[in-house]
Symmetry: C2
Subunit: 323 residues, 2 copies
């Protein structure tokens, strides 16, 4: 059955909202422990209860409070990010040694940051482990498009993910997309990924990419994501529009992309309805359609709800300034 | 002191969020009664407790439950919108006769709709009374802009509100903005208001206005809004960008606008920081800055939080299809 745009949004932003059903929201939270660090009141992520039982959390540096359902990385009160990160790394190394988590087999050797409520950098951890702790991760998504000279509208450059990729193999993606590691700025990440994934030169990206907002959501991982299901992935994706001249053709560069297609808006809509897009990429495309007047209040009944759900106020601290 | 963009967003979207402080949110709700109608489970709006005491609510058609803090318009289970609207109109007429509410002195003779959870039209009521019941209201905001031919960037057409207007006199506004009455579509409202407020002809608006999303927020009315303070105003504003040729000059038409200025982005930023814009118009401008790459993740530290707070998921049912 064809998926509506709201179906697609809810499939990716599928952690309950308090606003929709306070009782259900509160009951559901009992399935998770809150991840915290010494000296910071904020909840940094939610860990499913069964994950808490399987993580190797030495009592020298972890306090698990099962009545309040908190898991706290315990350090001296003025620990540095380096110290916290080292403890996290040791914990993950020990957890891997016991082979408990399928998801850790996708080890990336990329570090993702965790921030506190004042935007302070608290620690970093291996990317593939972030869904175990349910921390916020950050990425950039660029929508590359061409405006037809004959006025027939926009066409979008859409890649198909490699069928051998660990996550969402063979699904359609955004022109350029990737995760931001600890010290990376969004514009740097955009330039790097544009070359790695689409062979787009730096000067083209710098001249044509325009920041156009972000989307934010909390994704409960399903089987398509690979590894354990039910893990939380709160995410922020910084959005860029990339209007390309007709003679600039994205090409696969690394092994992540199989092929690029130049699709009309109608073809994109059809592929969305068929569920062919990676879940969060569908959201970026829907946001593009809204900002460009393709979806309107008069042709899309769920317009308001879609727009709100594309921009979730996360209940965890998020990244602020980029130095 | 200069206001940040996040200050401006929080000034307009100032009803607490559960996500920020569950305990405070829950305690604060005790200051309100929920507005409901027979046969519909959904909460349609929040009425401050002191307003409940001052409204004239005949027991023939209203049930006030002070332990559950609900105010229900009581009808036969299959009442029609016309029947519900008639009871509401009688209630407001009686309330006005007692002269209890300053806000009702701004009677508009415009009807605003209330929708149920399936998007069904439940009833309509006089515009000026909507903040008493805290129901969602809808409007359109158009940002008229000119792209300089010399590449020096965008300039925006910004009106100053008449100094004799009841609400927000003398403040800066969006190029065209207005509330949507019951049977109006957003694009119709845009065309009507563009002529009424800015003397912009229908063909110019139809050819150049592009739907670009919406903003949504819950505003606790302050003294600048006129009438009682502390009333809730959940609002959805449908956003249109209106790129105008250099030779199209908006001009005041009715008595609502004093003068139009063509301001540079820098001048708009300064006026925002000075608090010169009507609160919700500041939000529309900030959303414009985000969509056009003027504010970016790298020049605006509160980027993520601003974007989420511009698109609040309302806890009340909202309008869906337009027939």
């Amino acid at each position: 059955m064809a998926k509506s745009y709201l179906d697609l949004v809810k499939e990716c932003n599928n952690f309950p909202y308090y606003e929709n059903d306070p009782a259900f929201y509160t009951a559901n939270l009992k399935n998770y422990h809150s991840f915290k660090v010494t000296g910071c009141d904020a909840i940094l992520g939610y860990i499913p209860n069964e994950v808490v039982n399987k993580l190797r959390l030495p009592s020298s540096c972890w306090a698990v409070d099962s009545s309040n359902r908190t898991v706290t990385l315990v350090t001296a009160s003025h620990a540095t990010p380096t110290q916290r990160s080292a403890l996290m790394a040791q914990t993950l190394a020990e957890t891997i040694r016991w082979g408990e988590f399928e998801i850790l087999k996708g080890w990336r050797n990329e570090m993702y940051p965790i921030y506190g409520p004042e935007g302070e950098f608290l620690l970093e951890m291996e990317r593939s482990a972030t869904p175990l702790f349910g921390i916020v991760s950050y990425g950039v998504h660029l929508t590359g498009y061409v405006e037809a000279e004959d006025g027939s509208g926009l066409k979008l450059w859409i890649p198909r993910r490699s069928r051998t990729k660990q996550t969402f193999p063979g699904m359609l993606d955004n022109t350029v997309a990737g995760g931001m590691s600890t010290r990376e700025r969004p514009s740097e990440c955009a330039v790097r990924e544009a070359m790695e994934e689409a062979s787009l030169p730096e000067d083209v990206v710098k001249a044509n990419a325009v920041a156009a907002g972000c989307i934010s959501y909390v994704y409960i991982r399903d089987s398509r994501a690979g590894g354990e299901t039910g893990l939380l992935q709160p995410e922020v994706e910084y959005i860029y529009d990339l209007k390309l001249p007709a003679n600039v053709i994205p090409k696969p560069c690394d092994s992540e992309v199989e092929e690029f297609y130049l699709l009309s808006i109608e073809q994109c809509k059809q592929a969305l309805a068929n569920g062919e897009f990676k879940p969060n990429c569908a959201l970026v495309l829907i946001d593009f359609f809204i900002r460009h007047g393709i979806l309107t209040p008069e042709n899309e009944p769920d317009y308001l709800e879609i727009i709100s759900r594309l921009h979730r106020l996360l209940e965890f601290p998020t990244r602020t300034a980029f130095q």
